[in-house]
């Protein structure tokens, strides 16, 4: 990546990866609590289980993802159920979501919507994008570039230390 001299707008960021057309499809592998912080980690893996992308999210966001993974239906619509309900009523299709960027340990995502035949992109936190994708059966992608820049070398060792015990609690 070249050094940027000015903030990159969302549309520029979106264009960047659309041009590069190097998206990798990911599955949500699990959500597990981070024992060191009050947060949760969403584990995304590619289909060959070769690459792994952990994204730290808040407890509420982690729960929203876990509920969808478990297919748990709450008695009242949760926030992302409401979002899906908007899409259903207004005939908006969530075509896919993309983890588009990572800067200062913050991941960025884009939700691709199709409404009346035209595709539009909405800036989102990855947690919202994933929670919505799981509720609309939409594919989740990450750019090659983000995958390359993620985590660093210690990641695998770190994940191993967390233990497969926690990970296995929420299998897909």
């Amino acid at each position: 990546m070249s050094t940027r001299r000015r903030p990159v707008t969302v549309s520029e960021r979106v264009m960047e990866y659309q041009e590069s057309s190097d998206l990798v499809r990911l599955k949500v592998h699990g959500v597990l609590p981070d024992p060191n912080t009050e947060t949760q980690i969403v584990i995304l893996r590619d289909e060959q289980n070769a690459d792994i992308l952990p994204i730290w999210v808040g407890t509420t966001e982690g729960n929203a993802i876990r509920l969808a993974m478990e297919g748990h239906v709450t008695s009242r619509p949760m926030s992302h159920d409401l979002l899906r309900s908007f899409a259903d009523h207004l005939n908006i299709k969530v075509s896919h979501v993309v983890v588009t960027d990572v800067k200062n340990n913050t991941y960025y995502a884009a939700i691709h919507l199709v409404s009346q035949g035209s595709e539009q992109t909405v800036d989102s936190r990855p947690s919202d994008a994933i929670a919505l994708a799981l509720r609309t059966n939409s594919p989740i992608y990450v750019t090659q570039d983000v995958l390359k820049r993620r985590g660093g070398g210690n990641l695998d060792a770190w994940l191993e230390k967390l233990g497969t015990k926690n990970l296995g609690k929420y299998p897909v």
Binding site: R76, P77, L83, F86, V122, D123, D128
Partner: protein, 150 residues
């Protein structure tokens, strides 16, 4: 139907939850709605006009609706059953109107972000047991009341 304003947000130490206080314009009627921590924070961000560095879930809802030119017309707290409040979000989109089932917390968090009026059905206000409520409120210390009291 009465138009309501969000008058306060406070912590309920007995239930470890938050209470959104809705009042009608004459301050004659009041509707307290218990919500969870993250719902309370979604409402307080909007009340305080704090823009988060990244879009929060209700900011995303607004931006999805904006993207397709859908407008939030109003939100209505329309029922109370077994201590659970129900709400509808009324949307207009391409000459059609939609009423979408929601928890009041989501409806209020979205209404505050879209400058949309919040209403409560008369029946809901009648149904809530105000005697119990007054008694309960008397037991709260003044400092429990949120700083959002307007």
């Amino acid at each position: 139907m009465l138009q309501m304003k969000v008058r306060g947000l406070m912590f309920d130490p007995y239930n470890n939850a938050y209470i959104v206080i809705l009042r009608d314009e004459d301050n004659a009627d009041m509707l307290p709605i218990w919500v969870g921590k993250s719902e309370a924070s979604a409402i307080s961000f909007a009340l305080e006009g704090i823009a988060a560095p990244r879009p929060m879930t209700h900011d995303l809802m607004k931006s999805v609706l904006d993207t397709v030119d859908a407008k939030v017309i109003s939100v209505v707290v329309n029922d109370l059953k077994d201590n659970t409040y129900y709400a509808k979000i009324h949307l207009s989109h391409k000459d059609s109107e939609y009423a979408i089932d929601s928890r009041p917390s989501d409806a209020i968090a979205l209404a505050l972000r879209t400058s949309t009026p919040i209403f409560a059905q008369d029946e809901v206000i009648r149904k809530q047991v105000s005697d119990d409520l007054d008694h309960w409120l008397e037991n709260l210390k003044p400092e429990d009341f949120g700083k959002y009291e307007t």
